[in-house]
C-alpha cells in the first residue's frame, strides 16, 4: 500500500464575462487520466475547509478545481473577502454559472482529463451544484451536500441575484445526482429533502440520496463542532463511490 503523490497549483480560468478567475487545482501527480470535479465553496468564504476537501478529492484519485467565487474582490483574508461579498448580498447565479462554465472548460482542457466532469458543493455550494447541473450542459455527475434553498419555501429567498429555486429546473438535469443530508438539519430540513427526492422520482432522474441520523448541517467539516466522524466517513465513501462510477475510474494507489 502506498499513497498517490499530489500536485497543486493556484490556476486561472475564464470566468464570467471573460474575466480571469482564480482557483485552487489539485490532482494526483503522474501520467493519469482523471475525472474532474468542480468544488463549490460555501457562502462564508473560499476557506481552508474548501481547500482541504479539494485536496481530499485529489488524494482519492480525481482532479479537483475549487474556484474562488469571490476573486473579483481582490486579495485578502478569505473571511474579510467573504464578509464583503455577504454585505453585498452574495454573488449572483448568473455570475456563478459563468465562472463554473469556465472551470468546466479548464478541466476538460487539461492533458490529464478523461473528459468527464462533476460539480459538487457544500451548503450554499450544494444549491449551486444543483443549479449548475440543471443550467449548464456537459456535466457527468452532480453532488449536493446539504444544499439549502434548492427548494425555496420562503419567497424572500427569491431575489434578483438568485431568481430561481433550483428545484424548479430539475427537469433539465441530465447527469446523475448524489445527495448527502443530515436528518437534524434545518436547511434543508428532512421534509425538504423528501420533497426534493419526490421531484427526482417524478421526473425519472437518476439519483442516490443518503440521509444520516444524529447529524445536522456541515457534518463533514472536521474542525467544526458539527463534525460527526462515523457519518462523515461513510458520507465521503458514498462521494468517492458515486464519482468513481460516474466520472471515473478514480486513480488508486498501488
Amino acid at each position: 500500500m502506498s499513497y498517490l503523490p499530489m500536485t497543486t497549483d493556484i490556476v486561472s480560468f475564464d470566468g464570467h464575462n471573460g474575466v480571469k478567475g482564480q482557483a485552487y487545482y489539485a490532482r494526483p501527480s503522474g501520467p493519469h487520466k482523471l475525472g474532474g470535479v468542480i468544488l463549490i465553496h460555501h457562502l462564508p468564504a473560499w476557506d481552508d475547509w474548501c481547500i482541504e476537501a479539494c485536496r481530499k478529492l485529489a488524494h482519492f484519485g480525481f482532479a479537483c478545481i475549487a474556484p474562488n467565487l469571490y476573486f473579483r474582490e481582490g486579495p485578502g483574508s478569505p473571511d474579510d473577502i467573504g464578509a464583503k461579498v455577504r454585505a453585498r448580498g452574495g454573488v449572483s447565479d448568473e455570475q456563478f454559472l459563468g465562472d463554473t462554465a469556465g472551470c468546466m472548460k479548464f478541466l476538460r482542457a487539461q492533458p490529464e482529463s478523461n473528459g468527464k466532469v462533476a460539480v459538487m458543493g457544500f451548503c450554499s455550494g450544494g444549491r449551486h451544484a444543483w443549479l449548475a447541473g440543471c443550467s449548464l450542459p456537459g456535466f457527468d455527475a452532480i453532488v449536493d451536500c446539504w444544499g439549502g434553498n434548492v427548494i425555496v419555501d420562503d419567497p424572500k429567498d427569491i431575489t434578483p441575484a438568485r431568481p430561481v429555486a433550483p428545484i424548479d429546473l430539475t427537469e433539465k438535469m441530465t447527469a446523475p445526482v448524489l445527495g448527502i443530508f443530515g436528518n437534524e438539519d434545518q436547511r434543508p430540513n428532512p421534509d425538504q429533502v423528501n420533497r426534493t427526492e419526490e421531484t427526482l422520482k417524478k421526473l425519472g432522474k437518476t439519483y442516490e440520496f443518503h440521509r444520516y441520523d444524529g447529524v445536522g448541517h456541515g457534518f463533514f467539516a472536521a474542525e467544526r463542532p458539527a463534525y460527526r466522524a462515523e457519518q462523515a466517513t461513510d458520507g465521503w465513501k458514498k462521494v468517492y463511490g458515486f464519482l468513481d462510477k460516474n466520472i471515473g475510474p478514480r486513480i488508486k494507489a498501488l
Partner: protein, 89 residues
C-alpha cells in the same frame, strides 16, 4: 445553512481596528456559519465604514445566547446612562 440575510444598521461612532481607531457608519449583522468561533452557527457583526468603501472590518462572532445577552446589556447601559447623564439615550 448558509444564510444570505444581512441586516444593515446605520451607525455613528468609532471602532478600533488593526491600524488604530476609525470611524464606522455601518454594522452588518448576520447569523451564519462562523469563520473562527467554535460554533455551528453564530451571530456575526462587522463594523465598517461604508463611506470609505469599507476597507477594513471590526468583526465579532457570538453564540446566539451571548448575542442576546449583549443586546440586553446594551439597552441596560443606555438606560442607566440616560438616568445618570441625561443624554438622549
Amino acid at each position: 445553512m448558509c444564510s444570505y440575510i444581512v441586516d444593515k444598521v446605520r451607525l455613528t461612532g468609532s471602532a478600533k481596528g488593526q491600524a488604530g481607531w476609525l470611524d464606522v457608519d455601518t454594522a452588518n449583522v448576520y447569523f451564519d456559519h462562523p469563520f473562527h468561533a467554535m460554533l455551528d452557527h453564530a451571530l456575526g457583526i462587522d463594523f465598517v465604514n461604508e463611506r470609505d468603501g469599507a476597507p477594513e472590518r471590526i468583526a465579532v462572532e457570538l453564540s446566539a445566547e451571548s448575542a442576546k445577552q449583549l443586546a440586553l446589556s446594551i439597552l441596560v447601559a443606555l438606560k442607566r446612562g440616560a438616568a445618570e447623564h441625561g443624554d438622549a439615550a
